[in-house]
Symmetry: C2
Subunit: 283 residues, 2 copies
């Protein structure tokens, strides 16, 4: 996700200080508009805005508060736009730590895959201090098609992101079950997906994933199953900490956990779910 | 559902022989264009096309093959358009019985609530003999916005209807869980529903039900929970007979069964699912 977003920022006229664990990633960007950095602290040095997008809570914490983390250099009144899919409690803690340093932390997870990022079609959900939102707005406008404000509570946007990824996974499981039921009762999976995707369920999720699930089309890998499993764990954890029994979260958590157990962690999450349902049904 | 469909048939110029268990229902129709009948057999007498829409498999069987059933009078080459939500095996059996009588049986379940029926916005799924589809086409065109052909196997359209109603119930459960998770983590349910319904999930199911689920708006009763439970049982049964494990079917089946157990059978299925999820979460 980082590369297409960085390209859009460059196109919008920004100069970037970039850091990635895999340094060679930055080679995809126009060297005239970037400065390659060796640590998060170096990337955050002297700037008004830092954007982080990382795998999980632990990676974000390390990048923010580690020995070479963002908070070592982030100047007062600068904003850290945090786009990772993480628990709201992590945003709570990081908001406090940024406040202590005189800077801002803004939760800003996005919905959309890399192709949506490329096309500036991301939906950006934000939560946190109003001042941070005001400072971040021009940058976020150059990345997505809309910014949705979920209030001042630091982790509000993270809750939406976790709920949304749960809904996407549950939708995929639902389609895989329905299409497999149809297939085993003599119908054509592609026709079934096409019917629902063009009538009752005519939304991108059902049209795009519906086609992949119907055709058992798992290439290329767009979002790894192990990352899907991580998101299922976040939903499971949040349902526990907020005492919200969620039978469908249990179901998708089991599905992704099973995929990882079967060694499918590197496959696309469409494969984990679709193939899991099919194998359970002996097809 | 019968009344709005009958009105559209009258508007299209048809004269109807009508039968309902509750005879007074026919009083809502223009008496100049209908003949009230005392039995299904009387309603099916002398016509080219019979349309049935009934609560369940048993009601349809009784109306078709009972002592005063449709097959007692249906003339050769007439078509019985069967719109009930039933198991495909019931369509298989009735197809055989109609063939023996020289008439046609056409499975033609519809998607859409009474307001969609009123507006001629139903989606009609058909399966059965081509001749039956040809004869039925003008009538079905006057009822819906599209006819989708699921082949010659008698019960194909019933499989789609069962799969679709499962997907609707699973979507409602998914929304109720996601919105309750959001609510318990400090967000506004209505804002959450509005966000998903206008972005990733911008399909009628999520927009219309999403608003009801977010606002816990259960009036008026549009589709009774006991009928939702019946549909969940059909999905469960079909998953068993076709050996298709479906964790999400199990979940919605339990949800609707619990609603009936709690005495909510007469409430709207939105209430059964939404209130069920909320009560489980202590809110």
């Amino acid at each position: 996700m980082g590369i297409p977003m960085a390209k859009n920022l460059i196109a919008a006229g920004y100069h970037l200080q970039v850091y990635n664990r895999t340094h060679s990633k930055a080679d995809e960007l126009d060297s005239a508009h970037i400065t390659k950095c060796q640590t998060p602290a170096e990337a955050a040095s002297g700037v008004a805005i830092v954007i982080s997008i990382l795998t999980d809570d632990e990676a974000l914490r390390e990048s923010a508060v580690g020995d070479h983390g963002i908070l070592k250099t982030l100047q007062p009144n600068a904003v850290h736009i945090s786009m990772s899919t993480i628990l709201p409690e992590t945003s709570e803690k990081l908001t406090q730590l940024h406040e202590q340093a005189g800077s801002y932390y803004l939760a800003a997870p996005v919905f959309g895959r890399p192709d949506a990022a490329r096309a500036r079609k991301l939906w950006v959900c934000v939560s946190g201090k109003q001042q941070a939102k005001d400072i971040a707005k021009p940058v976020l406008d150059s990345l997505g098609q809309g910014i949705i404000d979920f209030g001042e509570t630091p982790g509000g946007a993270n809750v939406i992101k976790i709920a949304g990824n749960f809904m996407i996974m549950a939708s995929m499981e639902m389609m895989a079950e329905a299409y497999t039921l149809a297939e085993k009762n003599g119908l054509n999976r592609a026709q079934v997906a096409d019917f629902f995707g063009s009538t009752l369920f005519n939304a991108p999720i059902f049209q795009n994933y519906g086609k992949l699930i119907a055709n058992k089309d798992y290439q290329p890998v767009r979002f790894k199953s192990e990352l899907g499993y991580k998101d299922a764990r976040l939903a499971f954890k949040l349902s526990q900490t907020s005492s919200t029994p969620m039978p469908l979260v249990n179901a998708v958590h089991s599905r992704l956990l099973s995929a990882v157990a079967k060694g499918w962690g590197e496959t696309d999450w469409v494969e984990a779910i679709t193939r899991g349902v099919s194998e359970d049904a002996g097809v």
